[in-house]
Each structure stands twice: as C-alpha cells, then as structure tokens.
Symmetry: D2
Subunit: 375 residues, 4 copies
Amino acid sequence: MMKIGVWLIGARGSIATTVVAGTAAVKCGLSAAVGCVTELPSFADCALPGIGDLVFGGHDIATTPLTKRAERLAEGGVLPARILDAVLDDLAAADAEIRPGVAAAGHDPATLVADIAGFRERRGLDLVVVVNAASTEPPAVPCPEHASLAALENAMARGRSVLPPSSLYAYAAFRAGCPYVDFTPSTGVRLPALDQLARAERLPYAGSDAKTGETLVKSALTPMFAQRALRVRSWSGINLLGGGDGATLADPATAASKLASKSRVLAAALGGDVEQVLHIDHVADMGEWKTAWDHITFDGFLGVRMALQFTWQGCDSALAAPLVIDLARLMSHAYARGHCGPVAPLAFFFKDPVGEAACGLAEQFAALTQWAAQS
Amino acid sequence: MMKIGVWLIGARGSIATTVVAGTAAVKCGLSAAVGCVTELPSFADCALPGIGDLVFGGHDIATTPLTKRAERLAEGGVLPARILDAVLDDLAAADAEIRPGVAAAGHDPATLVADIAGFRERRGLDLVVVVNAASTEPPAVPCPEHASLAALENAMARGRSVLPPSSLYAYAAFRAGCPYVDFTPSTGVRLPALDQLARAERLPYAGSDAKTGETLVKSALTPMFAQRALRVRSWSGINLLGGGDGATLADPATAASKLASKSRVLAAALGGDVEQVLHIDHVADMGEWKTAWDHITFDGFLGVRMALQFTWQGCDSALAAPLVIDLARLMSHAYARGHCGPVAPLAFFFKDPVGEAACGLAEQFAALTQWAAQS
Amino acid sequence: MMKIGVWLIGARGSIATTVVAGTAAVKCGLSAAVGCVTELPSFADCALPGIGDLVFGGHDIATTPLTKRAERLAEGGVLPARILDAVLDDLAAADAEIRPGVAAAGHDPATLVADIAGFRERRGLDLVVVVNAASTEPPAVPCPEHASLAALENAMARGRSVLPPSSLYAYAAFRAGCPYVDFTPSTGVRLPALDQLARAERLPYAGSDAKTGETLVKSALTPMFAQRALRVRSWSGINLLGGGDGATLADPATAASKLASKSRVLAAALGGDVEQVLHIDHVADMGEWKTAWDHITFDGFLGVRMALQFTWQGCDSALAAPLVIDLARLMSHAYARGHCGPVAPLAFFFKDPVGEAACGLAEQFAALTQWAAQS
Amino acid sequence: MMKIGVWLIGARGSIATTVVAGTAAVKCGLSAAVGCVTELPSFADCALPGIGDLVFGGHDIATTPLTKRAERLAEGGVLPARILDAVLDDLAAADAEIRPGVAAAGHDPATLVADIAGFRERRGLDLVVVVNAASTEPPAVPCPEHASLAALENAMARGRSVLPPSSLYAYAAFRAGCPYVDFTPSTGVRLPALDQLARAERLPYAGSDAKTGETLVKSALTPMFAQRALRVRSWSGINLLGGGDGATLADPATAASKLASKSRVLAAALGGDVEQVLHIDHVADMGEWKTAWDHITFDGFLGVRMALQFTWQGCDSALAAPLVIDLARLMSHAYARGHCGPVAPLAFFFKDPVGEAACGLAEQFAALTQWAAQS
C-alpha cells in the first residue's frame, strides 16, 4: 500500500482545511466521498492510493490552527458540525506539519525544499504531491530569466527575486522530487524554466485553476451549443464571491489572472466572435459561498434570438476539496507510471489546462478515464 | 444528386411551416442554416442529400394555407419578415402537396399510403422520409393487437380501430416504403407490430420526441453532475408554452406522454433516487415561445447543499425545424446504407430514443458523427 | 406591564418552535428581532406589549418535545446552534403548556376552551391571543350550519361534526374570550357563524394565510405594474417546499386552499384578465427551505413584450415566526382598544385578508401604521 | 384646448423616435397608450393636455431621418411593423422640426434659444416643454462658475466653455421660457446657477434619470424589505445593454453618472450598510433590449440567510417613451399652475429625483397623484 503525502500551499486556507477534515471524515466513515471523481466506478481498476492513505502537511503564512479554522467553517455551513469532534486529531496532526510560507518573491527555496523533504522522511511517505491552493496572485511580471532553467538558477544564485511565490513553490517541489499541481490561476509552474526543471527531474505537473463552478457549467454547456450548430452571440457572467478568495479577487490586478483563465474556456469552445462580459466581485456577506449568474444569447434557425440563463450557488471549498484529493491520487498515478512534464489528460479538472486538451467537459472526462485506465 | 421528399405529418403546423420556409430561405441564400447539425464540419464527408434538394408535402387536418401560416409566424417573430416574399412560391408548392390528415383512430391506411406514394411519383423522388411533427397525442390505450404485425393487420382487416393516428401514419409510411421519424412523444412507431413491419420492409425508423429545449440542457448538464460525482437530490422543472403545442399539452392526458418522455432522461442519467417535479403549462400569451425554469439541488463534499437554476427562453419551431431537416437527411443516409429498424445513433436528437443509447449529449454526439462517417 | 399569552395551534410545528426559541433568544439579547415589523420605529409610540412579556402554550397532535424540535431546526439551519443552550428552559416551559390537539372534526370544544382558560389562569395572563399555525387543511365542505351561530350551536349540541379543526379552535378561542388569528389558509374563523360569535363576545380576529414569500413579493410588485400602466399578460409561479408544509400541500385537496388564497392577490391587484399558472410542489430534500420562481410577461408601449422573473429562496419558519410575534402584539393592541370583528388594517400580513383592504403592500403598510398609531 | 410642443434633445434617438411614432399610433387609434401613467384613472380629472395635442421637434447631432430610424426600430422589434405606414407623416413632420444639436461644451446658446422659440411660433404652441433624452454624458467637471447665474453668464459672455451640452440645453430652454426635464443622468439642470435661472424665469424643471427597469423594480422592492424589518445585507446587480445607450455607457467615465444615480435609490431606502455591486455592460448583440439581474441577500429572524434574485428583460425605448409623454403633460400642468423650480412630486419617474421625495415607489405614486389632483 502506497502512503502518499499531500503538501498543501495555503495549508490553513478554507480549501485545505476542508480537504484535511473531509478526508478524516471519509476515513472514519462519517461521510461519503461525494464530489471525489476518483471514487467513480470508472476508476475502480486503477489501483489509485486510498483516500485513507493520504497524509497532510504544507506551507502557509497564516497561523490560525486548523482546528480553529474548522470550527469557523462549521459555523459557515461548510463543514457539518457533527463531524468536528471526530476529525480533531487529524486536523492537529496536519497542523503539526505546517511550516511558514512565503509571502513575497525573493525567498531562498532551500528552506522550502527542506520542509517538504523533512515531511516525507518524518512520515515515511512513498511520494509527496505538492498542491498550490493558496490565494490567487496577480499576474507575474514577465522576465527574461523565466525562459530557461539555466538563466533562472543563475539569477537565483545572484540573489535576484524573479519568481512569484507560486513559482517558487513549484521550483521547490521539483527540487524536492515532488509532482506539482497548480490549483489556482497563479503563475506557478507555467514558466519555460520550470517546465525544463520538471522534465529534468522526470516529474509530472498539472494545472491550472480548478474549475469548480461557473466555468464547470460553461464547459458542460458550450459543447451543447456547438454540437447543435446554435450560434452563441454573447456570454455574460458575474461571480459574487464571499470569503478570502473574494477579497483577494476584488483586487483588479489579481482578478486579471482569474478572468483571463475563465474566458479561455469560452473562446476555445465557441470561437472568438462571442461577445463576453465577465465580472468577479467580492460580497463579504456571502461568506464561503458563491453565486454566479450567466446570461447567454444565441441564434437559432433563421436568426431567431434566444437566451439561456443559469445561476450557480455553491460552496467553493466543498467543491474544490474533493478535487484536491483526486489530483493527489492521480498525480501519484502519473508519477508511478513515469509520466513527466504536463499531464494533459487532467484537463477535466482545470479552467486553463496545461498541454493539449479538448475543451468540452465530456471529452475531457473520456480522456481522463482512458488515460487512468491504461497501465 | 438524390432528390429526397419530406412528408410531414402536421404539415401546416408551426414546425412544418418553419421547415418549408426556412429551407427555401437557406436555398436562396437569405439565411444560414443555423441550428442544422448536419451542416457542421463533422458531416462534411458524409455525402448527405443537399438541403436544397428536399421537397415537401404532408398530411394535416388543418386547412389554413402555408402562406397564411407563414405570415402569422412572421408576426410572432418566428420567421423574419424580410424572407417572406422570397419563400412564397416554395410555400405554395408544398401546400399543393398537402393531403387531408387523420383526426382519429380507425381510418383506412390505404388512402394515406396512396397519398405518400403519389407524392413520390409526381415529384420524381428517390426517397420520401415521413416525419411526424403533429400535435402530441394522449398515451395510447394498450391493446393485444399491438404485439404482432399479424394480429394488428388481422384487426385492421376486420375494421377495428386499434391504432392511434400517429401509429396509423407510421404504418402507412412503412407500407409506402418510407423511413419514419417520431418527432413527438406520440405512440407512433413504438409498437412491436410496427417494428416488425419496419424490419419486414427493410426500413429504418427513429424517434422519439425531439429534444429542443429544457431536455437538451438537461442532457448536457446531467453528465456534469455524474462525472463530478456530485449527488443530485432534486430536479424540478416548469415549462411555460404558448401556441398550439402548449394548448395541446394543457390537456393532462396528453401532457402525460410528454412528461413521461422528459423524465426518462433524468432517471437514465442520474439513477432513480432523484426527486422530480415536472410541469408543462399553457400560457397563451407566450405565442410561439417557451420559457423553462429548472431548479436542481445537489450535495457536494461532506453533504454541503448547493443549487443550480437555469432559465431557457426559446422558440420551439426555430429549434425544431433544423432538426427535421437533419433527420430527413440522416434517415436518407441510413436508408441508403441499408439500415433497418430503430436507428439508435440518432439518440442525440431525442428525449426518449429508440434502441440502446448513451444518455449524455456529448456521447450521443460522438455516436452520431461516428455512425454518419462510416460507409 | 401587560403579560400576554400566545396560544399556538400547531405548537410543536416548525413555526411555533421558532417563535418560542426566537423570542427567548431576543429576550436574552442573543439575537436582534429581525423580521419583527412591530419593532420598526413606526410602532415605537404604540405601547405594544414587550416581546419579552409573551408567554407561550398551545395545542398540538404531535408529541415530540420542543427541545427536540429545536435541535432538528438547528441541524436544518433554521435556528443558530449557538442559541440552543440559552433557550432550552423557555422551550421546556412552553412545552409544559402544550395540550393534545384536535385531529379531526367533531371534537367537543369544551376541553379546548378549558385548556386555554387554564393557561391564562395558571400563568396570570392579562390576555391570551390564539394563533393557528398548524398544517393547512383541505377546503371545508360548505354546510348550512355555518351560516349562523344559532344553527351552528344547535348542530353542535346535537353532536354533529360541522366544523373543521381550525374552526373548532376559533370557536374555542372566542368562547374562552381570546382574539384569534388565522395564520394559515384553513377555514378557521371565516364562517358567518364565527364572525357572529366574535362580535357577540366583543373579540377581534385576523387572517388569513400569512404572506411570507412569493406572495409578499407579488404584493410589492403588482402595484408597480399597475402604477406604471404596464399591462401584465401572464403571471406564472412555482413554489418548491420542503418539510411538513410541503408534504401537506402535496395533497391536491389541501393545496387548493393555498392556491386559492395565493391567486386572490393577483386578481385583486391587476384585474381578472391575467393568465395565471400556480404550482405548489413538495421537494422533501429542501427541508425547511422554500424556493419560488415567478415569471411575468407584460406589455409596454405599443405592445412591446417584456418579462420579469424572480427567484425567492427563503426559510418559511424564519419568515413566519416574527409575524406571529407581531400579530400577538397587535391583536392585544386591538383588544385593548375595543376592536371587535375582523381587523382589516392587519391586511399587510396576509394573502387573503379579512375585511376591506388595499392590495398593494405599501398601502397596506400605511394603513397598518396609521391604525396602530391611533389611540 | 392647449397645444403643447415637446422639444426633444436627442430627437433622432431611439427614445425620441418611439415617442413620435407611438404618439401618432395612439392618436390614430392603432395602439393603446400602454405605459402612459397619465392615462390612469387617477389622472382623469386633471385636465392634462391630450396625447394627440402634442407636437414634436428637437435638437440632434445625428442626421438619419426619423422615418429611417423608425424602420430600424421596427426591425429590432421596438415598433410594430403594422403601424409604420400610418405614422410616416407624423415622423416626417417632426423630422422637419429637428435642428442641429450641440456636440460639445462652448456653444453659443443663442442659436438653441432661437431654434426653440422658432418652433413655438411656427407651430402656434401654447407652451414648449424641453426634454433631454440624449445619450448620457460623463459627469461634469465641477467649476466655480456653476455656483451662481451671474458668474455663469459672466463666463459665457467672455466666451468660456463652462457648461456641458446637457446644461447648455437647460440654459437655452429656460431662456426660451420653457420647462425642462432631465430624462438622463447627465448634469443638465442640476447646477445652482441653472436653478437660479429657472426661478428667475418662473419655470419648473424635473429630473433626473428616468427609472425604466432595474431601478424601477428596486424602488418597488426596497420598501418591502424595510417594512418587513428584513435586513438587506448585499444587493448586487448587472445590467446588460445593447444599442446606443449601452455603447455610451461602456465608457467608464459616462457609466459613472449612471452608476451614481442608480445606487442612490438603494442607499436612501435601506441605509448605508448594504454591500453594493453594480455593473453596466454593453452587449451589442442585445440591440434595443436590456437584461438586468439583481441578487439580494438578506437576514430574517435569528439571522437566517435568504436571497432574492430577479431578471428584468425590457426594451428601454418602449419603457421610456410613454414616460416622456407623461412628463410633457405633467410639466405643462406644473407650468399652468405656476410651479417654479424643481417639481419634487415627479420623483415617481426618476432614479435621482430633484427636490425632497420619498424613496418608495408607492409613496412616490401617492405623492404624484395627490399633487396632480390639486388645483
């Protein structure tokens, strides 16, 4: 039985807390693994590591203990109050494996590497998968040192700060021998230098920006219009987000990352001549919840105008957490099979997938299950 | 070049009028064939009959001429006023090929057969495809004579009325050597006796109940929930329909056909433990338009409750008409390739498909294009 | 300081439990009285009895204790978990004042009268207001004995069952000298015989069917259309209800009461030529929550067609409970001022108000505050 | 019988074209005056000028003739095609009374005054009401000369450009002896110097920014929350606009005027602690149509969280045009009764009314009808 570590960047955030508490609840039979794609029958024969075999640690700049965070999530309706007592030990164990995170560029990656390696040794893990579930960063400033690993390490050796935190974590993950997942739209692994490093270390990576709500629905609906030869004329959307993610995205610079990532799905699926409106707004009152409204106008036969609207009301952490578990299991699978570089068949999980991928959700699911089944 | 006849049951209804006027508008370049699936690149190599090569006729119990019906549809915003003049001749030509329809069971099918055969000969057609686009009937009363062709014809010979009109048309179509399409949820071809007849005559058939709105969206969304392992708890929907179809469906007996057909999609995709509410209501004020609202509750990780709503605002005739054209072309294709009996790969078009088929829209599209490409 | 009793019919239901727990939470400062109309500045000078001076008891056929019911409501998100401990004593005290209810017609009202009178004496109350918040009954079968008090009592004396439970409670309330409120659409006080009794006893009554959701929004929106001279063509609505009320209303006979009451608002405000569709459906999965969707089509200048949709997502008990408190206070006010018979100025609270009243919400509010201020 | 001129700023825009064509259609009996508030029974005894007695002219910088604009509006579904022939003469007559408008600040108002006066004389009008229905301007740059009429005219005498076009029109209107209406959120009459001028000339004015859609619904719904003591926590809205107004408002500077005006309604009604999100976006594909979605979160009893959403789908010109007719009639009424300065009782029509006014729609309607009835 493989014992797999999951090293969470943003280890005290809502998503990470939900991952740790939820895994514990599933392990002790208090909850079914609803939302875990890898629990579907399609993956039954893939010999993925068990959910109960995952061990958690991570980096965070926050210091509020996981047990405290879990209480707040229970008040907010994200975690059921009835599981709290049963998962306290697991939360405390994960909390003991959280190390101080990186707040800004320019940090020495050696500490990060040592943190991850120490976790692996201390806990006797076969593999550690690093998942960035921290708050979204603003888009990175392009910089020539991003173009090659040699140039990057040269700059780092001279003490120059050329990597945003998410990319520094990706660098550290690879140097520690770990697969890496960009769960957010932050720059992360998406630099040529880091792709080179992943390939040099024979490590797989995946990303970016998990699709958990509006974009998930988009990727289910866009093929419908395309396959029915209906001409989409405009697609307007507004996302009202509470909580930490909402506050971060209220900063226009940061929102730019998210908006760019979200709009790619549409352009890829329906072509470039669709008018698009896309807003992300912070509504503190919504807490851990999100409401998205999309309005689509399209032409039918003889140009008759029609419309579709949808309203999605979801809890981001509860949607994201099972996908973190899925990605940890699947990246372990990719690693075990010697996959290195971008893992395109994981496009099913992401708004802006690395590698070449179909843009319809159903095709992505087919590609995922086919890939997972091969061995 | 194949010349294909399309014999429409309900030939003076909104759908049929839109089919005839729209085909003419496309033929003379006044409109693109938006909504025609068979115009997508995936079908480019299938050598389907051209849209301009379709010739129309049909049965109807109504007597309002097609030109008059087209004017009314233009007032209602279904047909663009600017195309009316250009399509008048085609409407008149089709109108001249409309024969009195069957209002009730018990009619002698010989006249119907002769009507169809006469059309084929008079117009020098290679094939006539019969498409039932008439108003929905109440569910048929089960009757032992439906079980075999011999029993059925025995009863008919004795002057007994055992077939509802839609099935009488299907019988006549097969006896006239024509493929048959159930565009509505009426009984039509779905009787063992008629399946036997189709196979005996080596004819293909398809159906039933074209998915043009709410159910189309459903079939795009249900796989999303299933593939993401989200547990759908309830799916409630209300359909507000104006026009003739709405009035017909306001009759509870008739609505039963439609509701049964619509609810199958959900049960097939998500299993039987989803609470379902489904209404079809007539709102005369909505004219040719339809608004459907669906409300879906589902569980995410740890049982957190979430919801998705959508509102579909469409024009039924404008959604249905291009599919009639598609089905005429594809049934001609099926016939040319010797397909007989139910054509399961056409499930993409139907709420309640004949034969074995996947229930997700994307899988149905893949099955359709794969089948069409084989030769 | 007046000490006012509130005798709840359906005293162990969700609404009653929320009333008792919420009053206790407000009294001890754990919660603001959000949703209590009588706490608005407009009522500051009316010398209404204090919320903390209300004492609860009632009838119910259910036996689950209030403390247990409160726990379940906390699990369902209706009561905040943090108030439970603080309100246990108040729940227990109210529970001790609950007496067995009447399940069917034909019960001897003497016991009911004695129950209410006993509560008043035991607790030293200045007045008891009876509020029917029990499940909705089917419409009552009309019966000649309803036409006059003499005929009614004659029939009762002969042991004939002529009153549905809600009316039996109203009879008992009046005989016990208590004002009576029909919070539901059940028959209750709406019989000539009971109106005579109320007047004979110099007692006020109010009702019926509190507007807490869809109808509340309707009564705010209909004047907008009327005052803007926009012609409403159709108003379609669907109500998805979980919980007990939903299950009761799933019975078509019972739903008839509710639907009749709901549709009156529209007809009164916009005239009779508006097409109406109105559904109430039970979706068990929604628990204590309700979602209503309304779709309104209307004409603007030159007959241009427009539409408004709204979706209301509310918790019925949390909407209803503060109104029960309001009505208890206001009926005490009416009684103190010698009001007898129907209290028309309370129309603001009801779907189908007794007495003559304006149908727009704002006018109803003006009438209410003006009435309350007079003394 | 009074003969009233209506001088439209933006006389070839969609609103103005709809006003002229619609008035003609009403006059000749082709259409009812749906959406005209002044046609309600409440105004029957006010002796307002007849709709058929209105005569149109105006300023515009556009040169497309009204007949051409009307054809386009008919294609877009704003004007019914069936009325076009009957209203051509009226459109041509109004078009002959359109004079070149002012594109930028700094224009000499003398020409504008002469244009208006010429119209009045030429057509033998008792009064001309000037209504600004032109595209929205960006907010005006504050400037000391706005503070007093003397300072303003001093600057103008020295050839300084201190007034934006909308204010220049207001200045010209007053100097020509005409009441003035700000139908848009542009600066217009809202400068102390122009208020002084109106009072000096004994002229009434009204404005600003007619509420025709989302804000209309807001002003109907906000009192509902306030009167029910429900605590609104957030109110988020998005407006998708096609057509000219949408394109203008896509400019962030211009949108600022509109957004400021729209948000005032909410703050006035519900207090300042409501989180607000408000977007206006241009979606060219929507033509003359507008869709607004609002999402409101609010607390009920014990802080239980609830939500209301609404979607408004309207045609701006068809909503605005009858209000222009109303305002012309009512300003004539105000003038006839010697009203000068801001006419606060017209607040019913505006997002950001001049003068002191209630913020609930129903109270505004009551104030309007009461004012109109006094004589």
